[in-house]
């Protein structure tokens, strides 16, 4: 029960934060391209719940959800979206390059698949340090087209590196469907031929995702082979930006409606209720989160920009 509510809180925070982005983005003050996570919440919530605070994650340009699930730091999040001095990155990163190493969020990259080998190296360092930390690296189905994904899988499996690969498969790379990008029928079936633990699922049941991940971690602790998780989900909004794009012609609204009917956030809320959780209590938690988001965005708006000299800091030469 406690677990269920923790998972719900993570997802609710993500969903509401993004709804807040949608509300404020048209003001044109968050000048950074938004690749929205909506629809994906259960994956990051489930996986991050199975990780400890010191475990490390790596993400992509679509990492709002991952950042919030791992760090919970919506205050820093909005400060960075507004490019303000109060953000840890002071506007050097933006939506696509978030970073919070103290909470295990080790970075996200806007070059598809490029953080996969970096995650691998970080996990190797953990293995060498013997600190038992796990690294989880998140990427889309498009990333698996890139050679470096295969190189990294091979190295991880060869060197028995403590890493979880999470493929968040929304069937699209921008507007190109998997059927136009894959010369095979099942990725997990291929990966299963590598020396690793492959698990899969459909990603709107957050508790199931949590369980699947825990199972993967247990296998890894036992056989020292990396974990590959493959989850299908549906991207609610356009590739980049805050709008729907069902009129663009490359996908059908019906598909969305089907997925929306098993929306991860409302699904978990219903679960909680049917498991006897008190709706009032849920609403209280929701209100707390709403308030936190509201405060964060207001603080971000009111904060100053850093001085322009910051441009030259943290680069050598």
């Amino acid at each position: 029960m406690c677990l269920g509510i923790e998972l719900y809180k993570k997802m609710y925070l993500i969903r509401k934060t993004e709804e807040t982005i949608i509300k404020y983005y048209p003001e044109d003050e968050m000048k950074t391209p938004m690749h929205m996570s909506m629809g994906e919440e259960a994956i990051v919530a489930g996986v991050c719940q199975s990780l400890s605070h010191d475990d490390q994650v790596f993400g992509t340009y679509r990492s709002h959800a991952l950042f919030l699930a791992k760090t919970g730091d919506v205050c820093d999040f909005f400060a960075e979206m507004y490019g303000k001095d109060t953000a840890r990155l002071k506007g050097k990163g933006g939506s696509m390059h978030m970073c919070a190493p103290m909470s295990g969020f080790m970075g996200s990259s806007a070059i598809v698949a490029s953080s996969i080998p970096v995650a691998l190296g970080a996990a190797y360092a953990n293995k060498r340090a013997g600190n038992n930390k796990i690294v989880a690296t998140f990427f889309g189905d498009g990333a698996t087209d890139e050679g470096v994904f295969w190189e990294s899988m091979n190295i991880a499996c060869l060197m028995k590196i403590p890493i979880i690969f999470i493929c968040e498969d929304n069937e699209f790379a921008v507007h190109t469907p998997g059927t136009e990008r894959r010369g095979y029928s099942s990725l997990p079936d291929i990966i299963a031929k590598f020396n690793c633990n492959v698990l899969k699922g459909v990603a709107t049941d957050v508790e199931e995702i949590y369980q699947t991940t825990m199972e993967g971690i247990n296998l890894m602790r036992k056989n020292q082979m990396p974990v590959f998780l493959h989850f299908k989900y549906y991207r609610y909004l356009e590739h980049v930006g805050i709008f729907e794009d069902f009129d663009a012609g490359y996908r059908e609204k019906e598909e969305f409606l089907k997925w929306q009917s098993i929306d991860p956030v409302s699904r978990q809320r219903s679960n909680l209720l049917s498991n006897g959780y008190d709706e009032k209590e849920i609403e209280n938690l929701e209100n707390e989160i709403d308030l936190m988001i509201k405060t964060s965005i207001m603080k971000a708006k009111l904060s100053p920009f850093c001085d322009a000299e910051e441009l030259f800091r943290e680069v050598c030469r």
């Binding site: 044109d28 000048k31 950074t32 391209p33 938004m34 490019g83 303000k84 002071k90 506007g91 050097k92 990163g93 933006g94 939506s95 696509m96 390059h97 990259s109 806007a110 070059i111 598809v112 698949a113 498009g142 990333a143 087209d145 890139e146 050679g147 790379a173 921008v174 507007h175 190109t176 136009e180 990008r181 894959r182 980049v240 930006g241 663009a248 012609g249 490359y250 920009f305 850093c306 322009a308 910051e310 441009l311 030259f312 680069v315 030469r317």
Partner: protein, 346 residues
Amino acid sequence: MRQITYCDAINEAMLQEMERDPQIFVYGLGVPDHKRIFGSTKGLVEIFGKDRCFDMPLSEDAMSGFGLGAAINGMKPVYIHIRADFLLLCMNQLANMISSYRYSSNGMLKAPMVIRVIMGRGWGQGHQHSKSLYSMFSHIPGLKVVLPTTPYDAKGLLISAIRDEDPVLVFEHRWLYWQTGEVPEKSYTIPFGQPNVLRTGKDITIVATSWMNVESVKAADILEKRGISVEIIDPRTIAPFNVEPIINSVNKTGHCIVADNDWVEYGFSAEAAALIYSKCMGNLKSPIARIGFAFTPCPTARHLENAFYPNAINIIRCIEEKLDLSPTDLTGEDFYSHENRFKGPF
């Protein structure tokens, strides 16, 4: 003459060339999707079909070699990258294979391939979606590098690139897509190695690349009101780079600024300055100024971006310094900004 946008000029070049030569095909990530590479590939898939205009898996390295293979077998691939930064995934094929296939086969095979690359200032795009990189390719023998500035150049140079028998990289600045200019309807080529004098003047020479020409023209417009006459020369192709007309200009004006749409260090501005100095030594009244990006990764916050990118104001201040002028009062001047038409990623 008819005025069209830079984007439409590119599109027209693609259409006319694909019409002319059935061996041409165009490919790259998102090439046939509904966004059509900011509109520059519109109509191609409808007219020429999926065989000649197609998408691919995200595999930049393999896609580069793929183009090379098709080229040596007689086709004319046009490979499009929506950001220059993605070229970094193609470097092995570009600099170890494509650049030298003709040479290492002693001319028995040629690689007439075009790589269209969009670069340009984003909107909080950050350090991985904002590089220019063209000077790197100019350092590699066997590659040609083209930087069209005007809609006229965009069409003519792209057609020349497609008809060239060697690999050509064409770098298009995203902000130029909205620029309009006179463009003939019929097909035409522009020979490589012919700089374009955008403006004649006698007090100072600006050598500018790509978008920096727009900034330079703005700067020149403003200073003209004070009686300063600026000559602006766009090399248009930096490999081959024909420095002769620039040398003549600098020998005339005695002052030179190289305004490059890239980092200054080890970039085009270094090669240009080195060549100009070598031929203008006695006539230069001041050292050549090199204007470009701040030597940092590109940040995302707007005020930091503004500090990162050079613009007309930097050019004006630089000219004032060289010509020993008092600072021009810029209040009321309307500087170029895409704030109002440009929201979200480029």
